[in-house]
């Protein structure tokens, strides 16, 4: 099994962290994982995308070349790229709090999730990425939900217990919301 993921957002939305968490989960489960990033001159902020491939065998081609199985679009500026970058049959999770206009693409399932709004409800707009992570896990089954919970515990637990709580809730919220949002 091989799952290709794209996590995109604007500076500060935590798309790179999202990618990293998936990687750590994969490693925990003994899967192969490769992460690539668009990278730019340090000073320019702007959009960023983390690409992750999770697989149970050696990953030759490390590129996600417009064949993402699951794509998370956190901000409007990268929305188009996410839709175009999905594979036939792929899923795009759309942060409908910010992305208000969606465009159809045949063969690609787009699931609007008001991640930023939910995140604000949960305590901080910063955990919108984690809401999306929960949804992405629900959408793909590429990782065990518990593994990622564990990863969150390990990375945040020691340093920021309050944050951990919020993030675990966000993860759960994403998972549960996915089912209904995806009809």
């Amino acid at each position: 099994m091989r799952t290709k993921c794209t996590f995109s957002g604007s500076g500060g939305q935590g798309s790179a962290l999202l990618a990293k968490l998936v990687c750590q989960g994969a490693i925990k489960q003994g899967l192969k994982v490769v992460m690539t990033q668009t990278y730019g001159i340090e000073q320019r902020g702007g959009d960023s995308t983390g690409y992750v491939i999770v697989s149970d065998n050696f990953i030759g081609n490390p590129l996600v070349e417009n064949d993402a199985d699951i794509s998370v679009a956190l901000s409007p500026s990268i929305y188009d790229g996410c839709v175009d970058g999905a594979v036939e049959g792929g899923i795009v999770l759309v942060n409908s709090s910010l992305i208000t206009e969606m465009r159809e693409r045949e063969g690609v399932k787009q699931v609007p999730i008001s991640a930023s709004d939910m995140a604000v409800e949960l305590g901080s707009v910063k955990c919108a990425n984690i809401v999306m992570l929960g949804a992405a896990l629900a959408a793909t089954n590429m990782l065990e939900f518990e593994t990622v919970e564990q990863v969150l515990r390990e990375t945040l637990g020691a340093k920021k217990p309050a944050l951990l709580e919020m993030n675990l809730n966000a993860l759960e919220r994403g998972r549960t919301v996915y089912a209904s949002a995806a009809e």
Partner: protein, 253 residues
């Protein structure tokens, strides 16, 4: 923007937003250079030779021709240019890394040669563009991306003072260090920019201005803190002063 354009004239291209980080000192120096070009009426015969670094973008915001030289080589490019076209006004715009690390030989030999070209060195005390590594101007014990425990002067030497090395050079006719850390120092810096270019216009010889500017991103400080740090720490070691001024011209305001 339209409104601001009135006071800046033709040199500054205000329809292009600066893509420096918020609070970046390059923004101020870029504006000062554009203002001086405008005031001196040399826009159409001025060519900028920019270094590799964040300041490499500076020319995009001015209606002048520009050459983006290889890292550190702007002074040599400027000399070749000026040799072939002595009637043009040529200035380099280089970071402290570009100018005083990899490009030190070209700068000092350029200064010593004494051709009327102008070098501006924007000293933000680290390599901004590549992500905040130590530069020759990084202070003792300062933590950077490549000095995780601070600059160890026993391995990497003390911060390098550049205009001081030109003191003895006959061909260098205007040499100054300015700070760009508050309104007062910026006003003084503006004068040095004009003097340096005036020095070239008058054909006197080489001119050089170093600007102490903050790089909030590289310093990993808030903008106000970065300015405060530069005003306090940087200016203490790198003392602003006019080392040499043979520009005959009387410069008011």
């Amino acid at each position: 923007m339209q409104e601001l354009a009135k006071i800046y004239g033709d040199t500054l291209l205000l329809d292009k937003k600066f893509n420096y980080c918020p609070g970046c000192g390059h923004g101020v120096v870029t504006r000062l250079v554009a203002e001086a070009i405008e005031e001196l009426g040399i826009r159409q015969r001025t060519v900028s030779v920019v270094g590799i670094g964040c300041g490499g973008f500076s020319h995009h915001y001015m209606d002048i021709d520009a050459i983006e030289a290889m890292h550190g080589r702007s002074p040599a490019v400027a000399i070749g240019y000026k040799t072939a076209s002595p009637d043009k006004i040529v200035y380099t715009y280089q970071g402290d890394g570009d100018c005083s690390a990899i490009g030190l030989a070209e700068l000092l030999h350029g200064a010593n040669r004494g051709l009327p070209v102008t070098c501006f060195m924007i000293n933000n005390n680290l390599f901004g563009m590549t992500g905040g590594q130590m530069s020759p101007a990084t202070l003792e014990n300062q933590v950077t991306a490549t000095t995780p425990k601070g600059r160890d002067v026993h391995v990497h030497g003390y911060p390098l003072r550049v205009p001081e090395m030109m003191a003895d050079m006959v061909g260098a006719k205007y040499v100054a260090r300015e700070a760009v850390c508050d309104a007062k120092s910026i006003r003084k810096a503006a004068k040095s920019v004009r003097n340096a270019l005036q020095c070239q216009i008058q054909g006197l010889g080489f001119s050089f201005v170093e600007f102490i500017v903050p790089c909030p991103t590289g310093l990993k400080l808030s903008v106000p803190d970065a300015y405060k740090w530069s005003r306090e720490k940087m200016v203490e070691y790198f003392k602003p002063q006019v080392f040499k001024n043979e520009v005959g011209q009387n410069n008011e305001n």
